[in-house]
């Protein structure tokens, strides 16, 4: 476990040195532009526009990082053979995977935290105050981070056995499918075929449910998000990530590094 921590910190350092956090500059510019323009074009709904735009930017930027870096986490190390010297040391393969996963999630957490700070700064600039209802924005940010952790786990699983291009396609495909899980569960009302209905029902439980993490509506209107949902989403993410990481470890621990 200690080795996983060492690998995680190095993965974080790699992201920082590869200038991944430079996206924050883009986010800052976007939010500054929004803060200046919003007062002129949206009378009375400044906060709604700012929160919607901010949360969407945090989510999209995070997803791009999670997918594009996640798919290279293991593949790049195998391709460049940088992990040969490492795996000859007392590091178990699952520790390496856990470290890579932890490192990218840490990077995303720092990135998301910085963007959230920027978002709150702009909300304060627009409203000249921060209210208790704004805590819903914080929960929405937390849910985005949970979603990103799940995406990283999936991207890393594919990274263990296929090329980055295919991994991007698989991860993006799963992410998009995961946005329609509720529709799959109500699919029986649309089809008379019991087999198709059973398949979509099973798929809806197997696929990662990314709809659970979408609380944008509550966040922009300052509605409180139930504590039960926070707990449920946290447990769901931990369990789903654990299953995906165990699968990745099972695949990677049998892999010959030619």
């Amino acid at each position: 476990m200690r080795c996983a921590g060492v690998v995680a910190l190095n993965t974080f350092r790699e992201a920082v040195r590869d200038r991944v956090l430079y996206n924050l500059v883009f986010f800052a510019l976007l939010m500054m532009a929004a803060a200046i323009l919003v007062g002129q074009i949206s009378i009375g709904i400044e906060e709604i526009v700012i929160v919607s735009l901010g949360l969407s930017a945090i989510s999209v930027i995070g997803l791009l990082i999670a997918i594009f870096i996640g798919v290279g986490l293991v593949y790049k190390e195998m391709d460049k053979r940088t992990l040969y010297a490492l795996l000859a040391k007392p590091v178990r393969r699952w520790e390496f995977l856990l470290g890579k996963f932890g490192g990218l999630v840490l990077t995303l957490a720092v990135n998301t935290a910085a963007m959230s700070a920027g978002l709150f700064l702009v909300i304060w600039y627009v409203k000249h105050t921060l209210a208790r209802e704004d805590s819903a924005v914080l929960v929405a940010v937390y849910f985005i981070l949970l979603k990103l952790a799940l995406v990283v786990a999936l991207a890393m699983l594919f990274s263990c056995f296929t090329t980055p291009l295919l991994s991007i396609l698989f991860t993006a495909g799963l992410y998009i499918s995961g946005l329609f899980v509720q529709e799959m569960r109500t699919f029986h009302s649309l089809t008379p075929k019991p087999v198709l209905e059973a398949i979509t029902r099973w798929l809806s439980y197997l696929l990662p449910n990314f709809q659970n993490f979408d609380v944008m509506g509550s966040a922009v209107h300052g509605r409180a998000i139930p504590a039960a949902l926070i707990l449920e989403n946290t447990i769901y993410t931990v369990v789903y990530c654990a299953i995906v990481l165990l699968t990745a470890a099972a695949v990677f621990s049998r892999r010959n590094l030619k």
Partner: protein
């Protein structure tokens, strides 16, 4: 026993759906004694790197097994006591050499003070003390090889396994690596290294193993496994005159500037020396010609290719 392999075999799948297999290593059984320098020789594709990767756990055997310091290679604890230099090593290029060594030292759970001390010592040992703070993306191939060597011995391992350690090094670098290997032996460590540079093996190894076509063809001390009988004598001399008595010999010699290299049978040596002396040639050296490890090695490689060709013909 430092390293022991038993019938170690590795097949690689290939083709559509990986349904076919190619045998890369076949029934390798050998031992490397504690404290010796063992050279693993073979041409490209012979199975040297496959064997080493099996030993350090990068690939898994199809059948057979191996032990290092009495522990099976599947035991993660075994890795505490081994050092490994990959062939043509490549490391995280965003790190400096000192940061990379610190990273590996942390993996070995060394204390902060110990890490600082060892990193400084290792960088000095491999001749990179002034380049420790430069990012590895700016390193040459030879410098990466030195960093690789430093990380392999950073944690004082009992067994050091080096895959082509001289590859990519200039003559000075090769000399330094040879010195490091000899120093490791003096410290009581076991060193196993693969190479296809036979002079390195002859110079350093207590014993060598020759592998060709995935099969071990011979193991022993370099001077044991080759025939020791002299095959002739070589005279190196300088000659600037035009003495008639030396002309006959000059026609048999190979020339480089004023220097000549002449090979004669052992019984003809004194006669040749007398002729050269009377022609006022300056004798620089006289060397006994013995079959080298290289000749032994080539003999095995040729034998293996002939055997493979025979199998192919009979198969057809």
């Amino acid at each position: 026993m430092a390293i022991e392999t038993e019938n170690l075999t590795k097949d690689y799948p290939f083709g559509f759906l990986n349904l076919k297999t190619k045998r890369s290593l076949e029934g390798l059984s050998m031992q490397v004694e504690t404290g010796e320098i063992f050279g693993f020789l073979g041409p490209n594709g012979a199975g040297k790197s496959t064997t080493i990767k099996l030993l350090v756990g990068l690939i898994f055997p199809t059948s057979g097994g191996a032990h290092i310091l009495g522990k099976p290679i599947s035991d993660i604890e075994m890795h505490q006591n081994i050092g490994y230099l990959p062939e043509q090593p490549y490391f995280y290029d965003y790190l400096t050499a000192a940061e990379l060594l610190d990273y590996f030292a942390r993996i070995h759970n060394l204390t902060a003070a110990d890490r600082r001390d060892r990193i400084a010592r290792m960088l000095k040992k491999v001749g990179l003390e002034t380049a420790g703070k430069i990012q590895l993306r700016k390193y040459s191939k030879g410098m990466l090889q030195r960093v690789g060597l430093a990380q392999a011995i950073l944690h004082d391992p009992q067994v050091v396994i080096l895959d082509e350690p001289m590859s990519g090094l200039d003559p000075i670098g090769r000399r330094e690596v040879r010195d490091i290997i000899l120093e490791l032996k003096r410290e009581g460590r076991t060193v196993m290294f693969s190479t296809h540079v036979l002079s390195d093996a002859e110079m350093l190894c207590d014993r060598v193993g020759v592998i060709v076509g995935g099969k071990l063809r011979g193991v022993g001390a370099p001077d044991e496994i080759v025939e020791m009988k002299a095959q002739g004598m070589e005279i190196l001399f300088e000659y600037t005159g035009s003495g008639a008595s030396a002309i006959a010999l000059l026609s048999k010699a190979t020339r480089a500037g004023n220097r000549y290299r002449l090979q004669v049978a052992e019984e003809e040596l004194y006669g040749a020396l007398e002729q050269l002396r009377s022609a006022e040639a300056k004798i620089l050296s006289v060397t006994q010609l013995k079959p080298t490890l290289e000749e032994y090695f080539m003999h095995l490689v040729d034998g293996s290719r002939a055997q493979a060709a025979a199998v192919e013909v009979s198969g057809k």
